[in-house]
């Protein structure tokens, strides 16, 4: 789960990371009030879960509170990469002497959190990583001992030579590491970590992603989820216990298991179709999940046909068949459905479907070819 910048700032601030004061506004008037309180020039920043906000016009400098109000009025409600801006962050426009990057990510290979630190921070850090990776220092952190003081200092020395700045930066690394481990983050970064002309070291922007598996035991973090900042169909799916990602094609897919779901999408493409979504109904699927899955998929007007691909293991195929029957009784499914079922209780499943005049296939390849042919014919 991605946190908004203002939420990430709050977690870091609570851990003691030095940063400019600021405020979050949902209306232009609030933005103006914050700018007035801060005094001087401010930056108004769109709070959306995507990069490239500045390039999209979602980050603006304002010299006066009145100007902050104007910018906020334009940015609030703006759509950036499909996401509507609901809130803006207002922070002082700082004079900056240097920009560094400090990040921690959960690394699969070392099976540890790994620090990535670079004196070449700022908006182009991804470019730095791609073209001059030697400018980034990496340090895996022992999960039992944590970040040791000498390690934090060594990282800080890659950024600064002034010992006061080094000590401050080392402290910030320790604080960032504490926030990362305490909250079960998969990513926590400060970009940029800046120095001001008078030598202060401050975090200017922050980004934190929380491991979704933490949310059950951390209701305080789960409460930070902002559903208004997500694709509505994906929110609906998550609340129904489904994993759903909307894509641009027209073949709706309902599959059990993430790997098989991806392989199904790939096969749709292989036979010349375009998948409309990724949808994993998970392991122990009850009929209700299938009803919800169909409801979500049929709400997408670009879907021209729906493919079920179910390999019953834990998932009982008769449960899925019952779900399809229940859904078609509850609401009209306006497009053809191609069903592939095999595995646990498949005979019962075929019988249930035949009872309402539907048929199912047992071969994945055949089902995918059929659904692609239907979509092509409709076009």
């Amino acid at each position: 789960m991605n946190l908004h910048e203002y939420q990430a700032r709050e977690l870091l601030k609570a851990a003691g990371v030095p940063m400019f004061d600021g405020g979050v506004a949902a209306t232009p008037a609030e933005a103006e009030a914050i700018a007035k309180r801060l005094g001087g020039g401010v930056v108004v920043k769109a709070q959306v879960h995507t990069g490239g906000r500045g390039k999209a016009g979602g980050v603006k400098l304002a010299a006066t509170p009145a100007e902050a109000r104007e910018h906020a009025g334009r940015i609030l409600g703006m759509t950036i990469k499909g996401l509507v801006v609901q809130k803006v962050l207002v922070v002082p426009a700082a004079e900056i002497a240097s920009e560094s990057y400090v990040g921690l990510i959960m690394d699969r290979e070392t099976q540890r959190p790994v620090f990535m630190v670079s004196a070449a921070g700022g908006v182009d850090i991804e470019e730095v990583a791609a073209t001059t990776p030697e400018k980034i220092t990496r340090l895996p952190v022992d999960p039992v001992y944590g970040l040791l003081p000498h390690q934090a200092l060594a990282l800080a020395f890659t950024l600064y030579s002034d010992i006061r700045q080094v000590r401050t930066a080392a402290k910030i690394m320790e604080q960032l590491h504490a926030v990362f481990t305490r909250n079960g983050a998969s990513l926590a970064e400060i970009n940029p970590l800046v120095t001001t002309p008078d030598g202060q070291v401050l975090a200017l922007d922050a980004k934190i992603s929380i491991d979704d598996n933490e949310l059950d035991r951390r209701p305080d973090l789960a409460a930070l989820r902002d559903e208004s900042a997500e694709e509505p169909s994906e929110v609906l799916a998550r609340n129904a216990g489904l994993t759903f990602i909307k894509l641009d094609g027209n073949v709706g897919c309902v599959v059990n298991g993430a790997g098989l779901a991806m392989a199904t999408m790939d096969l749709v493409k292989y036979y010349g179709g375009e998948p409309a979504n990724f949808l994993d109904i998970g392991g122990s699927s009850n009929p209700e999940k299938v009803v919800n899955a169909l409801r979500i998929i049929t709400s997408d007007p670009s879907v021209k046909a729906i493919l079920f691909n179910i390999f019953g293991g834990i998932t009982r195929t008769d449960d899925v068949a019952n779900g399809i029957v229940a859904a078609t009784a509850q609401f009209k499914v306006p497009v053809p459905i191609v069903i592939r079922l095999t595995g646990t209780n498949e005979r019962e499943a075929f019988r249930i479907l035949e009872g309402v005049g539907m048929t199912a296939l047992s071969d994945m390849d055949e089902a995918v070819r059929k659904v692609v042919a239907i979509v092509k014919e409709a076009a």
Binding site: M262, A263, K269, F278
Partner: protein
């Protein structure tokens, strides 16, 4: 022959009285797995299905039954604790089926099990099966058949799809292993490839990967250097959009690394025959076995 589990495996089920644990313990017993003990704290002294003694702790269960492998079906919040307990009691092979284990927990579990010489499979995996001998986890036994092809995969149902193709075409398996799709897992592709290479009962290997991370690229490099047996590979997620999670926490592509294309190229460069569709496994494995 096989890898990791066989007829001699004496299995302990942690969480045997729970909804999932009891259901799958029964299935494993029906398959013929020697389920020798169960553990549920507070239910020690009970007997599961009139056959299997239940203990309060893993240490008690091991002392009383000589269990040498464990499978975990406890909820996510208790999964790391269950792994620690099994390793501490001297169990050398632990399979964690549980989905949703916090990754931060796994960062601490891994050094713990390594120090004790315990192999962990999973978490968030379907387990493994040596057809005709021993099933540990949730892979349906009826789609597998004894034979000489080793299967290793990051997925669950995709594994079933491919194994089913093999079985229906008369190609049996030595062992089928689901390593799981989480970011931090106990046993990776390379561990399984090494075991299959060393297993005299395995003649060819099928490896199924997904987008995200670099495990498949590392596995391909290992195949090129160390695996003399033919390998057939598949990568799921060619149509996945960048920067999005596709269900498995692991299946996420960021930027240009971890794409299906990159992984398929790495496979091909290592001499691995790459399937375009799941059904291609039959032809490619058939060819490999005739070689």
């Amino acid at each position: 022959m096989s890898i990791f589990v066989d007829r001699g495996t004496r299995l302990l089920v942690q969480g045997i009285t729970g909804r999932d644990g009891s259901f799958h313990a029964k299935q494993m017993m029906e398959y013929g797995t020697q389920v020798v003990a169960g553990v549920t704290p507070g239910k020690g002294g009970q007997t599961f299905e009139a056959k299997v003694p239940v203990f309060n702790t893993v240490a008690e269960a091991v002392a009383a039954t000589g269990a040498n492998a464990s499978v975990i079906y406890v909820p996510p919040a208790g999964a790391a604790g269950a792994i620690y307990e099994a390793a501490d009691a001297g169990i050398r092979f632990v399979v964690c089926i549980t989905e949703g284990v916090p990754v931060m927990d796994m960062t601490r579990v891994m050094p713990y099990v390594r120090e004790r010489g315990t192999r962990l499979l999973g978490p968030n995996c379907p387990g493994l099966i040596t057809p005709g001998e021993c099933k540990v986890g949730i892979i349906p036994g009826n789609i597998c058949a004894p034979g000489r092809v080793g299967v290793v995969s990051r997925s669950g149902t995709l594994t079933y799809e491919i194994v089913n193709h093999l079985t229906r075409n008369g190609i049996g398996q030595s062992t089928c292993v689901g390593i799981g799709g989480d970011p931090i897992i106990g046993t990776n592709f390379i561990d399984c490839l090494r075991a299959f290479q060393d297993d005299p009962g395995t003649d060819a290997i099928v490896m199924m990967g997904e987008i995200g991370g670099t495990d498949e690229q590392n596995a391909a490099a290992f195949v090129r250097e160390h695996v003399k047996k033919p390998v057939v590979g598949f990568i799921a997620g060619q149509t996945a959009p960048k920067g999005r999670r596709m269900g498995h926490a692991g299946a996420i592509i960021s930027g240009s690394s971890g794409t299906a294309e990159e992984k398929m190229q790495a496979f091909a460069a290592a001499g691995i025959a790459v399937m375009k569709r799941p059904v291609d496994v039959v032809e490619l494995v058939g060819k490999a076995l005739r070689r």
